[in-house]
Every structure is written in structure tokens, then in C-alpha cells.
């Protein structure tokens, strides 16, 4: 199974990417995907990260389904 990971702002700069596609083991959680992404993009380790799953804030133990979209970003700074 697989998912898409999106980056914005500081995380897009740190990874030099806007989007990656990942192959996952069945049963992977949001937290496991985040660790996977941190491992392959060490620039992210300088940041505290938030993750959204399919455009919703979720807890790290939420399971990821095939075709899901995760967004990895830093604490927001709009306004």
C-alpha cells in the first residue's frame, strides 16, 4: 500500500520537495510514517512537526490507509 506526503513552508524547504509518494507496510500508523519521513529527510529534525491525515489533525497512533494523504508541517503562523 502507499500514501502521499505533502510538505509546506519550512518543511518544503527542509526536504526540497513539495510531495513524495511512500510505500508502506499494512497497518502503518501516522507516527510510523512520520518517523520514516524524518529518517529519509534529516533536515526535518530541526523542527517540531505537526501531521494532518486527509486534511484533519489526528493522533500519531491513527492507522494510515492505502491512498491516504499526509501533510507534514511546522506549527502554523498565519494571522
Amino acid at each position: 500500500m502507499g500514501c502521499t506526503v505533502l510538505f509546506f513552508g519550512a518543511t518544503a524547504d527542509a526536504t526540497e520537495k513539495r510531495q513524495i509518494d511512500l510505500d508502506l507496510e499494512a497497518g502503518s500508523t501516522v507516527g510510523q510514517v512520520l518517523e520514516n519521513v524524518r529518517h529519509s529527510h534529516s533536515g526535518l529534525n530541526e523542527h517540531k512537526l505537526l501531521v494532518a491525515l486527509n486534511e484533519e489533525y489526528v493522533s500519531l497512533d491513527t492507522p494510515v490507509q492505502n491512498g491516504d494523504t499526509l501533510a507534514v508541517f511546522t506549527a502554523v503562523s498565519g494571522g
Binding site: F8, G9, H47, V58, S59, F73, A75, V76, S77, G79
Partner: protein, 152 residues
Amino acid sequence: MDFYELSTEVIDFASVSRRFVPAVCGATVTLDGYARKFTKEKDGTVRETEYLVYEAYEPMALKEMAKLIERAKTEFEISAVGIIHRLGRLEIGESSVIISVAAPHRKAAFAACEWLITELKRTVPIWKKEIYAGGESWVEGEAPARPNSLPE
């Protein structure tokens, strides 16, 4: 009557504030947040910004803005809310966010407007980059108390 939008165009404050003037209301409180040139740091030095760039996770930002309006209308005695957030490059003094709250009485409108901007800055996935002489950096907000998921 509520509205929430993201815009790459200069926002006209008056057109937002007066877009709806409900007959049951007697006051609209409108926040006009705009790009600041001089920011005093904690150590007393002053940082001088040349311009700002805002970026959003647009579909999620719109969903979160809708949720904020729904919650505000549950928690405060208000009738209508409009939020417009600017994206892209902003020159100094241009509006970055406008929040209008119409209510029968002003007190609820003031309270709801303050609550809305506080929550927007905490939950809506929009990021600001400050560009100064000789550098630029993405501003990172305050990380939530719990890792990853935002508290209710």
C-alpha cells in the same frame, strides 16, 4: 451569511466589514491584521521586515476556517462571521487577515473576534515567511501542548 476565503489579491477592508449587515445586528467588530515592518525582539533589538510571503495548505485551511466559524457561533451570541486570509507576497501595511463578526450587541462581537484570531493562529495551516535585508525565515508558531494533534 458566513464566509471564509483565501486570496492572493489585496483585500479591501471595507468590503469585508460591510459585506453583510444583518438586520438583527447592531455592531460588527472587524480585525484588520497587516504586515508589520518593525518587530521588537525580546532582547530589545528591532528586526526590519521588507515584505512577507504567506503559504497555506489550502483545502485544509478552508476546512479549519469553517470549523472555527461553526464553533464561534456556538460559543458566542453572534450572527455572522467573515474571514479572509491573504496568501502570496504582501508589502508592508497590506492586510494579511481580516475577521469580521456581526452580533446583536458589541460585547459578544469583540469577544468572538479575539477568540477567532487566537484560534486561527493556532490551528489554520497557513505559514508566514519574513524577508529582511540579507535573509529570510519561515515563522514557526507555538507548538501545541500535545505532540501532533491539536487540543480541542
